[in-house]
């Protein structure tokens, strides 16, 4: 490698870079290499103003191979998944999917992931849904449950243990 990031002394990591493509296998061609850094993604990024997400810079760093920095960053967890960056990319690239891949890499590397995602994952593994049915309030501040509203029970696999086992194994798999 001929490049070094002098602020962190990090060097590009081609192996990690290839993992982005591997993670996205079967989806769109999302390789960041073709990005010409016009910045249209960041101009329209829903998460930039509040959470400082810069999709173009994620594309730039992915392209150069500074993957470790991204995988360890909080930035990748701020994406609102609105898909505007992909929709408007003049080069038909998908920053949002590259960000998904980076998050997958972070999880696979055992990095600590934000608690919300952690909870969601545990809930799906536990009972199949991202959350349990809630008691909600109506406008008069009275509580309402599904059964109060004549709604049938929430769907649930008959053999949740089995689904759980399959899912546990699935989370170790890649698309390729």
């Amino acid at each position: 490698m001929s490049l070094i990031d002098l602020t962190s002394m990090a060097e590009p990591d081609e192996e990690e870079q290839e993992k982005i493509e591997e993670t996205l296998e079967g989806l769109k061609e999302d390789i960041p290499d073709l990005c010409y850094q016009c910045g249209k993604c960041t101009s329209g990024c829903e998460a930039f103003i509040l959470l400082e997400l810069e999709p173009h810079s994620i594309m730039g760093k992915s392209k150069a191979g500074f993957i470790d920095e991204l995988v360890n960053s909080d930035e990748i967890w701020t994406c609102m998944q609105c898909f505007k960056c992909q929709e408007r990319c003049p080069q038909d690239l998908s920053p949002v999917r590259v960000i998904f891949a980076l998050k997958n890499l972070a999880v696979a590397a055992g990095k600590e992931i934000p608690s919300g995602y952690q909870k969601m994952l545990q809930s799906v593994l536990g009972n199949g849904l991202i959350q349990q049915p809630k008691e909600v309030l109506n406008r008069a501040n009275e509580t309402r449950k599904r059964e109060d509203l004549d709604l049938p029970p929430v769907p649930e696999p008959e053999d949740m243990d089995k689904v759980q086992q399959i899912l546990m194994k699935a989370t170790q798999e890649k698309l390729r």
Partner: protein, 295 residues
């Protein structure tokens, strides 16, 4: 009578009861029989962030459940609809992945073929049932109202996957509103995100996004906002008060699921549409009964 597997996903059956109630109430009136998918789980889309394979697996599993019944699938949540669409299109293009997923589904005696058609509320109403059919069933057109449309990001994007409407200039929701008498027009923030996907880890930012969108709609003089996405509705209606607190503005914009509005226009008993659960001040609208009236 068209039979559809009702795939509710996570957010609708665990808290967005108003959407589910109005769906169950309104659609049968259009000759649609909703068949519950008892064994279904999360569509997997939220787990894209964690592991793409699990996402695909869960999507395929839910579609396989529907295939087993030999019917098409209706996903009222755009995030589920996108997740399922992505899995459907990816597995079609990638037979190896399909095999890999099928080998896991086998453990539950399931098999994914890819034969299930997918519907979301928007295309189901607009394209499948059709505006004429809807117009025929309108009893009390909501002529005095002007509403803004909130599509939800995943309803229209990304357009490399089959979405219910155009990614930059969606108009189906507007046309559906006009069909039941509601006036509408485009506004600059129409395609903006509600922030819903980051609510669990970036609460304040998410509420700010929602608050800013509500404020923009309110400032432009709309009577209300119509939604077709449970995540968007949760942010713009259920959490409107918190959003107001977060941005320090007073917000009082009535937010209703389109299908609730449709139910009202069809003259369906309003308590059957879960309108009491809309936390935004929907009873500011003349056509909507207050909770006391509903009782």
């Amino acid at each position: 009578m068209k039979e559809l597997g009702l795939y509710l996903g996570c957010v609708i059956p665990t808290e967005q009861y108003g959407y589910e109630m109005s769906i169950r109430e309104v659609l049968p009136k259009f000759d649609i029989e909703l068949v519950d998918l008892e064994e279904s789980t999360c569509c997997g889309a939220p787990l894209r962030n964690v592991n793409m394979f699990t996402t695909m697996y869960l999507s395929a599993r839910n579609m396989a459940l529907c295939e087993k019944k030999g019917i098409d699938l209706y996903a009222p949540c755009p995030i589920c609809h996108l997740g399922l669409t992505e899995a459907k299109e990816s597995l079609e293009e990638n037979p190896e992945l399909k095999d890999k997923i099928n080998s896991k589904l086998e453990e539950e005696d399931l098999q994914y073929e890819g034969s299930t058609e997918l519907y979301h509320t928007l295309d189901l109403l607009h394209d499948e049932i059709g505006l004429d059919e809807i117009e025929d069933q309108v009893e009390e057109p909501l002529d005095d109202l002007t509403f803004a449309a909130h599509y939800g990001c995943n309803t229209i994007r990304p357009n490399d996957l089959d979405r219910p409407d155009d990614s930059e200039n969606p108009q189906k929701l507007e046309e559906l509103m006009e069909t039941i008498g509601i006036g509408t027009e485009d506004y600059p923030e129409k395609l903006d995100c509600c922030g819903g996907q980051v609510i669990s880890d970036h609460n304040e930012s998410a509420l700010t996004k929602a608050g800013e969108k509500i404020e923009a709609v309110q400032d432009q003089g709309f009577d209300g906002l119509s939604t077709i996405c449970p995540w968007g509705h949760r942010m713009l209606d259920s959490k409107q008060d918190s959003a107001a607190d977060t941005i320090g503005e007073s917000l009082d914009l009535p937010v209703m699921y389109y299908i609730q509005l449709l139910g009202v226009a069809m003259g369906i008993e309003q308590s059957r549409l879960g309108l009491e659960l809309n936390l935004s001040p929907v009873d500011n609208l003349e056509a909507i009964e207050s909770i006391e009236e509903a009782e």
